[in-house]
Amino acid sequence: MRKLILLTLLVTSTFTFAQKSVLIMNGTAHIGNDSIIQNSLIGLKDGKIVLVADATTAKLDKSAYDEVIDAGGKHIYPGFIAPNSTLGLTEIESVRATNDFRETGTTLPNVRSLIAYNTDSKIIPTVRSNGVLLAQITPRGGLVSGTSSIVTLDGWNWEDAAYKTDDGIHINWPTIQSRKYLDEDNIYPGPFEKNKDYVKQTDLLKKLFADAKAYTESADKVEANLRFEAMKGIFSGTQTLFIHSNTVKEMVEAINFAKQNKISKVAIVGGKESWMITDLLKQNEIAVIISRLHDLPTYQEDDIDLPYKLPYLLQKGGVLYCLNNEGDMEAMNTRNLPFLAGTAATYGLTKEQALRSITLNTAKILGIDKSTGSIESGKDATVFISTGDALDMRSNNVERAFIKGRDIDLNNDQKVLYEKYKTKYGIK
């Protein structure tokens, strides 16, 4: 317990030294809450946003800022947030030694992603430079994968990268049908078949949660149980239970499970079929962290754009949702998160709603919306300037980025190599 306090102290006390104050003028500010200020004034001071105003009406004292940026013709966004990410937990997917996102075992709520998060991953700067400035670092595998934490995508080490430590626990709801493999090494995928262990697996989850709850409430703890300890926040409402699930039947069971355990904060991660149960999700105030949009439909007869328009279907159904990028090559692909939102805008959402699905909505679902997720006075100065529409790959071009007011280095190894070889060939 002492350790935890120490950790919190550390987190809050980092980077309290003086920062340059910045005024961003004349840019189109995309607030993140569906609204836009065409010609905006945004003031950043001491790590916070101190001014959000319309330049055409507000009075302004430029001298109050150390730096004034003219963002005329440019766009300002709140930092994008990548939920359910393994960024920093893997470097090169096929090289086992670089992978730290999966622990052996079935129920491991006490396994924590934060301490394995590598701030020096070469991938992170390539993600940051597309506008993604925060991420929820999430363990994978098993029935209970472990505990995630939210980090800013800068920092000398995981301690000062930590934004919200141990924000939630991730469980993978068992699948009713699972894929049969044709060989012993699970390399050749075969057809799906009924998961014979479904009941056994769900029972295991039910028992774990019942036991952990009883443990939490028990006055007399003879021996400490690290797993149960790790789950306290789920029952007290300080942590979110993230249930990874995609099909209707499984999600319905998972929602009932959460209800029975009286868990107040629940989010579905994946939710490919969540559009079929929007009423249920709405009634129970369960949000969906939508699986990677750039995906093929599950079934041949599905609408060919079903994954693309899933955000729109949830929007229409009144469900809170945000976008995530789990899947093949997910770490490096995090930089494409803005374009997932762009696709959502092409398939039903407004552009500002799409933006919200990677900013304010995400912050709400992750429980960090009080301090980040939109460009609002009093929130963290986590914003960036793009020369064009940042949701469109054609125009996404991040010039400046700030995390809690810190001016972020937007260079990365790939840009270095680019410059090096441009010089080699004499390309301008």
Partner: protein
Amino acid sequence: MKKIILFLLAISYAAAIVAQETFPVNGTSNKNHVIYAFINAKVIVDADQTIDNGTIVIKDGLIFSVGTKIPIPQGSVIVDLKGKTIYPGLIDAYTSYGMQETKRSSGGGYPQIESNTKGAYGWNQAIKAENDAIKNFTKDTKSAEEYRKLGFGAVLTFQKDGIVRGSGSVVTLSDNRENELILNEKAAAMYSFDKGTSAQDYPSSLMGSIALLRQTYLDASWYKSDKTKKEFNISLDAFNMLQSLPQIFESNDKLNALRADKIGDEFKVKYIIKGSGNEYQRLEDIKSTGCKFIMPVNFPIAYDVEDAYDANYVSLSELKHWEMAPVNLFAMEKNGVVFAITASDLKDKKDFWKNLRKAISFGLSEKQALLSLTSIPAEMLNLSDKIGKLKEGMIANFIITSGNLFDEKTIIYENWIQGNAYKINDYNTIDIRGNYDFSFGPERVLHQLKIEGELDKLKATLHTDTAKAAVNITVSGYSVSMSFNTINSNGTIRLSGNISSDPLKMNGTGQTPDGSWINWSANYSGTVIATVKKDSIKKDSLKKEAIKFGQVIYPFCAYGKQSDEREGFSKYVSDFKTRYDAVLIKHVTVWTNEAEGILKNQDVYITEGRIVRIADDIGAPKLAFAKVIDGTGKHLTAGIIDEHSHIALSSVNEGTQASSAEVRMGDVINSEDINIYRQLSGGVTTSQLLHGSANPIGGQSAIIKLRWGKSPEEMKFERADGFIKFALGENVKQSNWGDVNTIRFPQSRMGVEQVYYDAFTRAKEYEIKQKAYAALSEKAKATAVPFRRDLELEAVAEILNKKRFITCHSYVQSEINMLMHVGDSMGFKVNTFTHILEGYKVADKMKAHEAGASTFSDWWAYKMEVKDAIPYNAALLSKAGIVTAINSDDAEMGRRLNQEAAKAIKYGGLSEEEALKLVTLNPAKLLHIDKKVGSIKVGKDADVVLWSDNPLSVYAKVEKTIIDGQIYFDAEEDVKMRSAIQKERARIIQKMLEEKKSGAPTQKPVMKRKQLFECDTMQEDYLEIAE
């Protein structure tokens, strides 16, 4: 009288011939030459000839005479078959009767590079030409009985194992000594695409199986012509022997049937194809093979679709196939395809008659059914003089039935094989199966009695409202006895009584548990399983019925279209039209990819598959089927070309040898892949289907246009150059394949280089030998060792002769450099480096070598060799003067290649026009098809895409994708199709629910997701993949 004497003479003469045998007798000899005469029967001589009130005389296993009023020799056993019918014994031309089961020997997961068959055999274990069924055949009493019950008297049997399976034998199903059962010891040569028990690695793919078969044909003919015989090869020797026999090829899918026929065409073999049951889905193509077929009657059973969510697991193609499968045989008959019918493929042979009758109720004629079970298989197996008909001198294989064989109520009494009688059912047997209105005792309560099961093993249940009770029932002749307990009975009630037919009913008396006697009666009320009733479908109105049933769609899956587009999609999708004589797009922004650049507010006129005019204002076409599209605010580009794709394939990697240059992706195009349609929706019009990257020299590519609905052959890009896949790096050295894959050469980049030097060196020598042989005089050729064609080396030699071009999977600069060096020293150029993520490091060298590049926009960090990959690669290469494309290698990304191209604006600052060329004109250049496609220019193919927005924007959607001037994707029609699919699904689901209610068996839906192929996909189950 004279005649009779002559007959008698003949009989004694024949007897004298039959009498001897080689086996010693234990005990006293028990020879039996008794003559049997079956009189007063309706004799079905063959499908064309029926003798009412006929007689058949048999002796010594042969038919002695057939006819009306024919003399019966003295001393005959006379069987009076009044009211009964005699049919020729049925023939099943596709069984493994009496064969031992074969098992695959597992090598514990380790590669097995060589054959495990020891001896002077061929190199590949899957070529089992020497496998003669006759040597493995032992009669199997149990299995024989199963076949005999169905009416079969003779079967073709063979070992179902391997690609070349050796010879099959025709045997009878009598239980005499094996020596007497063989009608033809080598009746047919058997083939398949399935390597069976062979654990040898090669082939691991469908195109590998095809290539192996091709090479085997060549090797065998070379072996035959080689008079010097320096080597003896049992397998090739046997293969040559097989060639004089009927050739039977097993297919498990309509596309495999077409593939088999294509091989046959190459080697001038007309196969008899063992069909799969879905031939109706590509009937025109099946018909045009001209092949004969052996058809199963294995229809899918209904899915249990009561759970609406689970029902989603059942695809439209499965739903439709369930509905239409029984119509397959009728469709084939109607289209004049010659076929035999087999009981093969049935999980339970007992379903044979049920299913065959179902096919008949769906339109198959009884005459065709009889032909397909008798004279057609007999002819296929060159045995029409011995079996399949009831004619003098033929083998005495026949069945005695209560009436029309194809009638549901008909009973097979006896099956005579080679003159031996096998009793199936008693002559007095009445088929009492069905539902009965049943009452017993004084209460006069109406119960339901349900009798089902086999005739000799009846199962009965008593239904009273919702209560059910099992009934023990025994039938003997016309008497019946039953016993059962009811809830109120306090013990067992026993009933006995009589059966009377016409109408079918039973009645009698019985005792209750307390000993009091009661009366009972049961009146037949209908069949147990409400299969499609015959009279409900009039054959002449079957076309109408078919529409009610739904139509065949092309391809046979969701978003498939009915073939006759111009007629409209009638019942299924209203007014769906794609085929126009002309298309005119007005007021559109045209991205020409030519010197003109981007032209605003233009009209583009398309007809006969070509772009005919681009101008400010073009008048409306006067043709009847013309479409005018308003392009205001929209953008028109050339169709997207994916240089690196693995969609539309049934199989992708033959990585078992360092070089598999002989395999051809064109052999395994899968026209039924939904991803074709999905990619059309992303504007893709042409794709290069590449072999995987599992080995340094992969297979030959296929370039296709995404002509959704057409057959694999029709999808191929006409007269395109040949390409071949090469691969370097981690995949070919099996770096990420686990610890067992450390044997196959190469395992390092050093080895990869040697694979190439070896292949090209051998290819050069091959050509020298070929030329030397060709230069020999005819006389010298006669004594020389003939030249052996080698398809692998031929493909490599084509590269040297600039007839085939390389697309090489590559990542790091060292290996890219290496291959260019090999090329320079061996005399070939690398046409395209694909992936080429470190290409930017050697752009100058690539330029000098004139190599092109086809890369990913921003992939990296997934394996060690992409550590230095940068998203600026495409822009850097382009600016260094290299023809550069961006490809997908991914079914999902393939449908937003425009967005991937747009990333080159962001990363490296290409202009929008140049960026678009990365996925249009540049890949066209790399594939040598830029004269036809890749830009919007008068005279070029009308492969164009209409976008809602700037095509490089994430906000752009495809509205129409046009190939050869035909609209293959239309966003508006797509919406209509979605609801049509929903309707069609709902309709069939209702039918399935009815089927379940009627008590028919169902299967649980299981999620099926099609496997997606990428470069490293290896799979062994390609035969199961055809979805």
